[in-house]
Every structure is written in C-alpha cells, then in structure tokens.
C-alpha cells in the first residue's frame, strides 16, 4: 500500500544541507494499522507530509497503492490526495466558516461528486462518528473531541485507501482521546489501512505495528513486544 525505498528528503540553504529523512525505508501493507513514533525532530512529520503527498522528496522511490508518485504533477498529486488519502490532523483543521456538513463535503466536491451521492456519503460518515445530529453546527460550537470526529468523518467520507493521522489525539484530553482512538481502532477493524504519527507510547501500543524513526531513519521493531518498552524510553528521552 505504502512503500518508500531509500527515500531521502534534504532541506538546502546556502550554507547547509539538512537531511530530514535519509535512506528511509518503510512498507505498510494493506489493512495494517501502523504507528510511527520517534522523538521531536526525528522526521516523523516530514515522513507524514511526504506520505500524504503534501511535500515532494529528494531521492529514492515512493509507491502509493502501486503508483510511483515522484513524477506526478501537482494536479495528479491533488487527485491522489483527494481519492486515496484521508487526513486526520492534530489541530483538526476544520474550516471555521463552514458547518459540519459543509466541512465533510469539501473533499467530495473537489472530486466532482454529484449532489445526492455526496449527501449520502456525508450522512453515512457523520453517522459513523456519531455526529449526524450536529450537521448544521459550526466547528466553534463543538468540543475538541467532536471536532476531531468531524475531521475523521471528512477523512472517511471519500472512502480513502489510506488514512494518515498526525497526532490525532494530541490536542484532546484523556477521555476524548480515548474516544477518538477507539474510533480509529474500529475503522481499522473494518479494513482501513492507517498510518498514525504519535508521540504517545500508550497510543502507539494500540497499533498493530510500530515504526520508530530516529534521525530520519527507520528503526523497525516490528511486532516485537520488547519494542514498546524501548519506544517508551526513546520518547521519554
């Protein structure tokens, strides 16, 4: 589903070259729930932005759902983001001027989907996250947990092949975070492929597999139970 091979991302200024990712390899299979962990500045977010086609990379290859994405132009990348990827951001990133219904509708409109189908998908997605009754509310009228649920509904509405979550519970209190995490687990059980970047070892522990990034490189500890303790130490450090 998501395969990066010898991928690198270099930020160049006049004086220095900084490797955000170096010889980065990862292979996420269809239906997997992978947590990507690592200390601040390790390259987690860079990995996520490249995986989500929000940013280009410098070297190596990246196959998403069988497509080599490095040669795609901006429009093709927009189309893939729209059709294959669902984003869940730490800051929810709902559009404040639009109500819940219109927010969920945004990616569907960019897909050029017809009205009745859009409506069906929006209502299904909102049902799925338990917020169908809040369709006419504006983001500011919802709690953080509800806003993140709307964002998840927005990500799900387009039936993406891959869900990318960036610290999805980072801005939530424990109870709301638990609710959101349970929702993600449910979605995974229903067959979705999820890649989640997180600081939180407890959250990471609930994923199927953990990928640890240090200094822009992957330390894949697989499903080895010893990893969790290691990851926790690494994050604490």
């Amino acid at each position: 589903m998501l395969k990066m091979t010898h991928l690198s991302k270099v930020y160049r200024t006049e004086v220095v070259e900084t490797y955000a990712l170096r010889d980065f390899n990862i292979d996420v299979k269809e239906g997997e729930f992978v947590a990507v962990t690592g200390p601040s500045g390790s390259g987690k977010t860079t990995f996520l932005t490249i995986a989500g086609l929000l940013e280009t990379f410098t070297g190596g290859t990246y196959h998403l759902d069988g497509i080599e994405v490095s040669r795609l132009d901006d429009n093709a990348r927009s189309k893939i983001r729209n059709e294959k990827i669902g984003f869940i951001f730490q800051a929810f990133n709902l559009i404040p001027d639009l109500n819940v219904y219109d927010n969920v509708e945004v990616p569907l409109r960019y897909r050029g989907m017809k009205g009745p189908e859009r409506k069906q998908r929006i209502m299904d997605a909102l049902e799925r996250v338990g917020l169908a009754s809040r369709a006419k509310h504006y983001p500011a009228e919802l709690s953080g947990g509800q806003q993140q649920r709307v964002a998840i509904a927005r990500a799900l509405a387009g039936s993406p092949r891959l869900l990318l979550a960036d610290e999805p519970t980072g801005n939530l209190d424990t109870q709301m975070a638990r609710g959101v995490m349970e929702l993600l687990e449910e979605i995974h059980r229903e067959g979705a492929t999820i890649v989640m970047v997180t600081h939180d070892p407890e959250l990471a522990a609930r994923a199927q597999r953990n990928v640890h990034i240090i200094d822009g490189q992957v330390v894949d500890l697989g499903e080895d139970p010893r990893f969790h303790a290691h990851a926790a130490r690494a994050v604490d450090a």
Binding site: L54, E55, S78, F87, I95, Y110
Partner: protein, 411 residues
C-alpha cells in the same frame, strides 16, 4: 476546476462586514461612474457639435470704434472690409453682429402667423452681408445668396424686418415640416412685416454654447442688414496655411486703416479654433474632472478588492493548505477566490444598477439631465466585474501557490 457557489456563499455569510463593504463600494462606484460617463459623453457630444462653418480657415475680429457716433460707422466698416478683402491670403471677409460660439447674440421668435401669440420656435438672427455665406463657408442647399443691393444699413435700436432672409435647414424644417420653405414667408422680430426665405443653408449654429440654446441650437436666420454702431465683428476666411500669419497682419492692417479703434489683446483677433476652445472650456473641464473622478473611484475600488482579498488570503493560509491537502488543485483555489469576488461583485452591481438609475432620476429632476441610457449601466456592470476579477487575480494566484503542507503547520 470545481466551482462551488453554495459553500462560498456560506463562508461569505460569516464575513458580512468585509463583504458588504466591498459590495457597497462596487455599487456606489457603478452608480457614480455610469452617471459620470454619461455626463462626459454628453459634454463631449456637445463640444463636438459642428457650427456649419469652415472653422479651420476662419479668423474672428471683435472691433470697437472709438470717438464715433453710433450711426456713423457705415463708412468705417466698409473701409475695414475693403482693407481685409485685399490682404494677400484672405479669401473673403464679412461684417456680422455675432457668430457661432461667440457666446452672445440676438434671438427672436419665428412665426408664420403675425397674430400668433406664441412663436413656433426661437432662432438667432445674424445681421450679415452678401459675403457672409462665402466667408463662413456655409453650404447653400437651396435658393440663392443675398445680392449686394439687398444689404441695408440700420440702427440696432429700430431694426425693420427685411424682405429677404436666408435660414438654416433645421429652422426651415421646424417652421415648414413639409420641406418646402423656399419662397415662403415668416415673421421675425415681432414685426408685422413678412420676410421671404430666399435661401437655405445646410447648417448654422447659434452663438450660444451653453444649455440656453439647446432647443434651437441650429435655428439661424441670416438677414441682409448691417447694424450701425461702435461695436461689431468681422469674420475673415483665409487661404489654407495662411491663418497664423494673418493673425498678425490683420490687426496691423486694420490699425493702419483706422487707428480710432480698440482691438483687445485677448479677444480682438482670434483664430476660430481659439473661440471654440474658450467656448467649451467649462464643458471640457467638466468632462476632465468627471474622468478623473471615475478613474480615482475605479482605482479605489480595485485597491479595496486587492486589499480585502489579500487580507483574506493571509487569514486563510492554513485553510487553503487544508483544502489543498483534501484534494483542491491550484486552479480550484484560484477559482474559489475569483468566484467569491464575482459573487460579491454581482451583489454590488445589482444594487449599483438600482443606485445608478436612482441617481440619474434625481439629476433629471434637479439638473435637467437626460435619462441615462441602460447601455452605460450594462457597460459599467461588465467593466466593474472585469476590474474586480483583475484586482483579485494577484492575491488569488498567491493563494493558489500556498503549499498543501501548510495544513500540517502547528497553529
């Protein structure tokens, strides 16, 4: 490009102040610019009206004899005309009480029934001689010119209507709508004596450039009468290319003939071009002022749109990034801002159209303006919408270049 009107409207509802401000600005600009353009066009049309004369080869002389009794000017005028007509480069010259665009003259009612209480129309009276038609370069389209023996010298205080007159076609058509004016008689100057129309010239304007003569702008009568008196005008027709030189020769020769006169430096001897320039100075000034007002207004409106859109783009950078992350292409983002502006613009021009018509109606009642042609409003609407789209283009392009990675930046 996916154009999304409904969500754009929904978002605009949350930004009422800015939206209303720009829409009102567009509406006001449309109302003012439409009416101003209409006034400009009216003024320019007024300025462009032809006098019927060969203006490029005409010199005007405004003369005042000093130390001469009002009734004794006949030999002096005859001497001046003889002098003028023999100057090399002069085609012909005439003595006339006034001429088009001079600003002052003699107007009277014209009627076909001497007992009628109300004249058919007003007309200007030009007291001229048999050289007037040739000097002014008027086009005689029917009948004949005056003969030398028909010219009489009369005191301005007690003028007798002449037996023969030449009229402009506009006057002929007004008084005799059947088109047969030649040989018919009319009563002018409230006189009981009829005058027979012996000639019709294609066009001859009255001396007034303002709105006073708007209803009889081309109603002119040439009378074979020379008025005695200290004041008088001469028109001098020159050969092509000789006008500039004659501007110096003519006053010199006139002074040589008779020093007992005043030729003012500013208005004494002028080319007709200068006369036209002076006559329409206010109109051209008004047209220029209105043009400046229009340009400034349009510039302010465009600047307002650029300002507001730039502000909104800055404010929505993250939102634009999110939209890009969710699959919006660059042209989707560009289209979003263009559509948003178009919607505001449409609201503005709808209100503006009503305001333009209202403003015009108000001016029609208070300032004798004409009714505004809807063509001006239509052109104004299209122009303002285009200006709006042009103004929004730069900030919208900037918005379309916002990277999708903006969505992941922390707040």
């Amino acid at each position: 490009m996916n154009v999304q009107i409904q969500p754009i409207l929904a978002a605009l509802k949350r930004h009422k102040a800015g939206t209303l401000l720009i829409a009102m600005q567009i509406a006001l600009t449309l109302a003012i610019v439409c009416n101003a353009t209409f006034i400009i066009r009216e003024r320019l049309a007024r300025v462009a009206r032809p006098t019927g004369m060969v203006e490029t080869h005409l010199l005007t002389v405004q003369n005042r004899f000093v130390g001469t009794g009002a009734t004794s000017s006949e030999p002096l005028v005859k001497a001046d005309l003889a002098t003028l007509r023999q100057i090399p480069g002069v085609v012909d010259a005439t003595a006339i009480n006034s001429y088009p665009l001079r600003g002052g003259g003699w107007s009277m009612g014209v009627q076909t029934d001497p007992d009628a209480r109300k004249a058919i129309t007003a007309a200007t009276l030009y007291f001229a001689d048999d050289h007037a038609v040739a000097t002014m370069g008027l086009k005689l389209i029917a009948g004949r010119n005056f003969r030398a023996d028909e010219i009489s010298w009369q005191d301005a205080q007690k003028v007798e209507a002449p037996g023969e007159i030449i009229v402009s076609k506009a006057l002929a058509d007004k008084v005799f709508p059947d088109g047969h004016a030649l040989g018919r008689t009319v009563y002018i100057m409230g006189n009981a004596r009829p005058s027979t129309i012996i000639g019709v010239v294609e066009r001859l304007q009255t001396p007034w450039s303002g709105t006073f003569a708007d209803n009889f702008m081309e109603h002119s009568v040439l009378l074979p009468i020379q008025l005695t008196g200290a004041f008088g005008s001469y028109l001098v027709r020159t050969e092509p290319g000789r006008l500039d030189a004659l501007l110096k020769t003519v006053p010199a020769q006139l002074m040589k003939t008779n020093r007992m006169r005043v030729l003012r430096d500013d208005t004494g001897v002028r080319s007709f071009a200068e006369v036209r320039e002076a006559a329409y100075k206010t109109d051209r000034g008004m047209a220029l002022l209105m043009t400046v007002v229009c340009v400034v207004l349009l510039a302010i409106t465009a600047a307002g749109i650029v300002g507001l859109t730039s502000f909104w783009v800055g404010q929505r950078r993250r939102q634009i990034g999110v939209r890009r992350a969710l699959g919006a292409t660059r042209s989707d983002i560009l289209g979003y801002f263009l559509t948003e502006n178009l919607l505001i613009g449409l609201a503005g021009v709808v209100v503006g159209t009503a305001m333009a018509v209202g403003l015009n109606l108000w001016m029609v009642t208070h300032f004798e303006m004409h009714r505004l042609s809807m063509v001006y409003v239509a052109v104004g609407v299209v122009a303002l919408l285009l200006i709006g789209q042009g103004a929004v283009l730069a900030p919208a392009l900037r918005a379309s270049r916002v990277s999708p990675v903006e969505a992941t930046r922390s707040v």
